[in-house]
């Protein structure tokens, strides 16, 4: 379970953020004392840091530089300063991403997942049961059998796969699709999911994508 350190002085945001991250399967830690953040990082060694710029007694940008000097931990700046200059500065100091408040929580989770994925050693193969997923080619491959997925179907399938065993809401799927520049509407999402099901059926996986009424979908392990 990836550890995420939240460096944020607004207590209400910090605790809500912690709940959001814990629900999403991360182990989130709140920072209460800002004078010795570097030592805390040394002790906790988180997998990712969410860092606010406006902090008591310390400037977030300087903290960012200090962390960068010693650690290679991915850092996402989360701030209400939304000027280009601030973003360019943060990125040049070594931040991995820059998100402005208020943000859409689903998008924050997507960005966290993306940054974590980048810092991970690349996995050679994405495998679900006995078939291989090749996102670049849009192919599901089982021995000699190949099934081609459209871009939308692949985005949906990958999201379900990353969250397999968990309920995925339509809104999450929609956000992920829009985040990938596929601005589809509700009907199109329904059509895409049913096509994906048909294709998975062909590979011999009947009803592995279950509909939970009023909640969303779930890909069984």
């Amino acid at each position: 379970m990836p550890k995420i350190k939240i460096i944020e002085d607004d207590l209400s945001i910090a605790s809500e953020l912690q709940e959001l991250l814990n629900n999403a399967g991360y182990q989130a830690n709140i920072t209460k004392e800002f004078s010795n953040v570097l030592e805390q990082i040394k002790k906790e060694l988180p997998d990712l840091i969410l860092l606010d710029i406006n902090l008591p007694r310390i400037n977030g940008e300087i903290l960012l530089q200090n962390i960068r000097r010693e650690y290679n931990i991915p850092i996402i700046m989360v701030t209400s300063k939304n000027s280009e200059v601030d973003e360019v500065l943060s990125m040049s100091y070594g931040a991995d991403d820059y998100i402005t408040k208020p943000y859409n929580p689903t998008i924050l989770l997507l960005r966290i997942a993306a940054v974590l994925k980048r810092s991970e050693r690349p996995k050679d193969k994405l495998i679900y049961h006995d078939f291989e997923v090749i996102p670049q080619k849009g192919i599901l491959k089982k021995e000699n059998e190949e099934i081609i997925l459209t871009k939308n179907e692949m985005i949906i399938f990958l999201y379900l796969l990353q969250n397999k065993g968990k309920i995925v809401t339509r809104d999450e799927l929609m956000t992920d699709l829009w985040n990938n520049d596929e601005y589809i509407n509700d009907n199109a999402l329904t059509v895409n999911i049913s096509r994906l099901r048909t294709k998975l059926d062909k590979l011999g996986y009947k009803e592995i994508v279950e509909t939970r009424k009023g909640q969303g979908y779930i890909l069984h392990e």
Binding site: D10, S80, W178, N185
Partner: protein
């Protein structure tokens, strides 16, 4: 100042001097002074008057004509004191001193207001950042506590956020100082951010978003551009029709510029209103239709465009469509900046 004006101004002096001349003449005649002596005295007297008048005229003429000419040519009239040469006669000196004092006190007053406005702007910016914190908190709370009212709550929060952005960019657009940063920006990324921001509202209202050919880089400030596109799309959403509504975003690269067109099939803008949509607080007929409108959105967009050197234009037909076009010039000036920032 010309001779006629000068003489008109001096007529009293001249009459008094002439009167004195006649008195002198009478006295000389009464004492039976020799006629040649009278002529000599008269000539000397008149010559004296003429020389002093002409000398005075020339001194004043150089100064006042200079003043009039420079005042006419000056764009910022209050700078006149800096442009004039110190005159060599008393009235001129008094005038210069007075002008100098007036200028000084005016500049002090202006600086006072400038500082006040600047302080106020800084406070507004700070305040906006502060308000964004509870808004972030609320968004997270709503997400963490799933309930039936969620969509409605999020919609109101997004309205709040939008109004905040409007005032933030209004303050920024009024600011004389440059607080933007021009970089190479991919249009598709900015559009994607705006689309995600408006996703719920678009889906809720059944408005299709069609985006094509936007994988083009332009030189702009991405945050400012995001705000501008968001304002335009918000208008498209606000003034959409109920049935088969869509918003189409298309970019096109020309030799000297990139055009980004945002087209919607909404209720459009009437002919009378169209030329005035970029005016401050102008709401027009659509604003009066009961749709909430501040008349600030397009005004700020226009101002930001001017600052960034982009062009914005609008076409519309009532009940048919509205199309807002942003043009990004591939200017040499930008290329210089680009080189420097590399």
């Amino acid at each position: 100042m010309n001779k006629k004006e000068y003489l008109k101004d001096k007529w009293l002096n001249i009459i008094i001097l002439l009167a004195f001349y006649f008195v002198i003449l009478l006295i000389l005649l009464a004492f039976k002074v020799h006629i040649q002596a009278i002529i000599a005295i008269s000539i000397i007297y008149i010559l004296g008057i003429l020389t002093t008048t002409i000398m005075d005229y020339i001194r004043k003429k150089t100064f006042y004509q200079d003043l009039e000419k420079k005042l006419e040519n000056l764009d910022q009239k209050y700078l006149i004191v800096e442009m004039l040469q110190e005159p060599n006669f008393l009235e001129g000196k008094l005038l210069m001193d007075a002008l100098y004092e007036i200028d000084k006190s005016m500049i002090e007053k202006i600086n006072e207001y400038k500082t006040q406005t600047q302080d106020f702007k800084e406070y507004v910016e700070l305040w906006i950042h502060e308000v964004k914190l509870p808004i972030s908190s609320l968004t997270l709370m709503i997400h963490n506590n799933k309930g039936e009212q969620n969509k409605k709550l999020l919609e109101q929060i997004s309205r709040l956020d939008n109004y905040l952005e409007q005032i933030l960019y209004y303050v920024r657009s009024e600011d004389a100082e440059k607080d933007y940063l021009i970089t190479k920006v991919n249009l598709s990324k900015v559009i994607s951010n705006v689309a995600l921001k408006n996703k719920d509202t678009l889906l809720e209202n059944g408005i299709d978003l069609i985006v094509s050919d936007v994988n083009i880089e332009v030189l702009t400030d991405s945050k400012w551009l995001e705000f501008m596109i968001n304002q335009i799309i918000n208008n498209s959403i606000k003034y959409s029709k109920k049935e088969k509504a869509y918003i189409k975003i298309i970019a096109k690269e020309e030799s000297d510029r990139v055009d980004l067109a945002i087209y919607d099939n909404g209720i459009g803008i009437s002919k009378e209103d169209l030329p005035r949509v970029f005016e401050k607080t102008y709401t027009g007929k659509n604003g009066r239709l009961g749709k909430k409108s501040t008349g600030m959105g397009l005004y700020i967009v226009d101002k930001l465009c001017k600052k960034l050197g982009h062009k914005v234009s609008i076409k519309s037909e009532e009940e048919q469509f509205t199309c807002v076009k942003l043009s990004f010039l591939k200017d040499d000036y930008y290329r210089v900046i680009e080189k420097e920032t590399k």
